[in-house]
């Protein structure tokens, strides 16, 4: 005893309320998770343009290696890769079907190349400064910066993120509307109970308590459901995603919601349930007091 206890309700309607809250929570959670995964994926895709340094043809392998080491030692560079003329020719052969044509070459016409990958954290201005610094190196014949595919990636990402934000914010509004509406209608049904208990001398806290409990219960149940839904979605998608990653030779795995994510989701559910009930009960408590 000590409080009004649970108000008896049909289990069906309880389930429905929890279900609505659960799905409403699961959707934005999945979308944020998706955004997370895309960000993980795209940092793997090296967010910076590569620079290809075409070196003077006169350099021998040792000089090229030294130069690569010097460049690689710079703070602004993540990685360097040497492409010897032989490797270059090999790559060229494998690019489309020119294998036969290139075997006809008497000598290798390709220069040694160093591919430089600037650090991902650099701003475009810093990248330009780096390129300028590399361009004036005496052994560098000329330098080429691949920006095109980056512009494309950028555009795709922008589109994707905008779509995800629109959907996520719509879903956010839905969650608030749905939870608020559900709890509001739920409580409207019990207006009489609130009024009667107040008439008899119950404090606001006493009246509020069972509603807060049931709000919390619905919210938590919704949170649990949301976790289950998100994890199910993750499991369903993980297969195709890692198959896809496999095609690109990557070992990418979709990150799941994890412990802290589940915790956040439960927390959000509980919080929404509590706040929703608090507000809805509060409205009634004020409405029935004489002015």
């Amino acid at each position: 005893m000590g409080s009004l206890g649970q108000f008896t309700r049909s289990p069906g309607s309880n389930l429905m309320t929890a279900g609505v809250i659960g799905i409403a929570l699961a959707l934005p959670a999945s979308f944020l998770l998706l955004l997370d995964n895309i960000q993980i994926l795209t940092t793997g895709w090296q967010g910076q343009p590569h620079a290809s340094l075409f070196l003077k043809r006169a350099l021998d392998a040792g000089q090229v290696a030294t130069l690569a080491q010097q460049i690689g030692a710079r703070a602004s560079v993540t990685q360097v890769r040497i492409i010897t003329p032989e490797q270059g020719l090999q790559e060229l052969r494998e690019l489309s079907g020119f294998r036969d044509a290139l075997t006809l070459l008497q000598s290798n016409p390709l220069p040694p190349v160093i591919e430089v990958e600037p650090r991902g954290t650099l701003t475009p201005v810093q990248v330009d400064a780096l390129i300028d610094a590399l361009a004036v190196l005496p052994s560098v014949e000329h330098i080429r910066l691949d920006r095109d595919w980056l512009r494309r990636l950028h555009a795709i990402m922008q589109l994707l993120q905008r779509a995800i934000w629109i959907v996520a914010s719509l879903l956010g509004v839905t969650v608030i509307l749905v939870v608020g509406n559900t709890i509001r209608l739920d409580i409207e049904n019990r207006r009489d109970e609130i009024v009667i208990v107040k008439l008899i001398g119950a404090t606001d806290a006493f009246v509020r308590r069972p509603f807060l409990y049931s709000g919390l219960r619905h919210g938590l149940a919704g949170g649990v459901l949301a976790c289950l839904l998100v994890e199910t979605g993750h499991l369903l998608l993980n297969g195709p995603a890692s198959r896809l990653a496999g095609l690109y030779g990557s070992r990418f795995e979709l990150t799941g919601i994890g412990f802290s994510g589940s915790f956040t989701l439960l927390g959000c559910g509980a919080f929404l349930g509590l706040v929703g009930s608090w507000l809805a009960v509060g409205r009634h408590l004020i409405a029935i007091e004489p002015r």
Binding site: M1, F7, D192, E193, K198, L199, I200, G201, D204
Partner: protein
Amino acid sequence: MIRLDGVGKRYPGGKDALRGVSLRIARGELAFVTGHSGAGKTTLLRLIPLLERPTRGQILIANVSLTRLPRRRIPLLRRGIGMIFQDHRLLNDRPVFDNVALPLIIAGAPHREIGRRVRAALDRVGLLDKERQYPVTLSSGEQQRVGIARAVVARPPILLADEPTGNLDPELSAEIMRLFERFNELGVTMLIASHDLTLIGCLGHRRLTLVDGALVDDGLGGCREI
């Protein structure tokens, strides 16, 4: 114990339900309120536990002015006043026992105490065998008696009853009135609104008569015939 000074109540629609009512009810007194339908009896009773605020005048309960009572003290005021409502006002989704126990639960009475006192109250109104039924499965008279049991279970110093015997047969009404008199003898201050002039008249208590919201008569009722 209860004192009204020039109390007026005008409802939002513009209706004057009470006009300048002044009265004093001493500690331990029992008074009846009568009057035609719409005279303002219910309104008068509802002002006392602050279910409604007067638009004019002032009310003092145990020498405390209700006008200056802070909002958070209202629940305490109401716990000290048992009220029987004309329309019962029971919780329909809880059994009789829980309904009657409500004032004790609100006041935070110990668990064992609750069971004992609820059963005692139900016994007095003759409903001990219905403790597990829901209000909707009761007849109107039975619901009214559940309301009476709920009002008296916490032994409040003031008891207000709005037409407590409207749905009861004459024998039962007389019995409930005797119950109220016993409470009164134990020192409870009582104000009872009733149409049942036959019943009131013969008991010989103070009678307040309202006509259109004004107090027109305040005296002992005689056993007159209609």
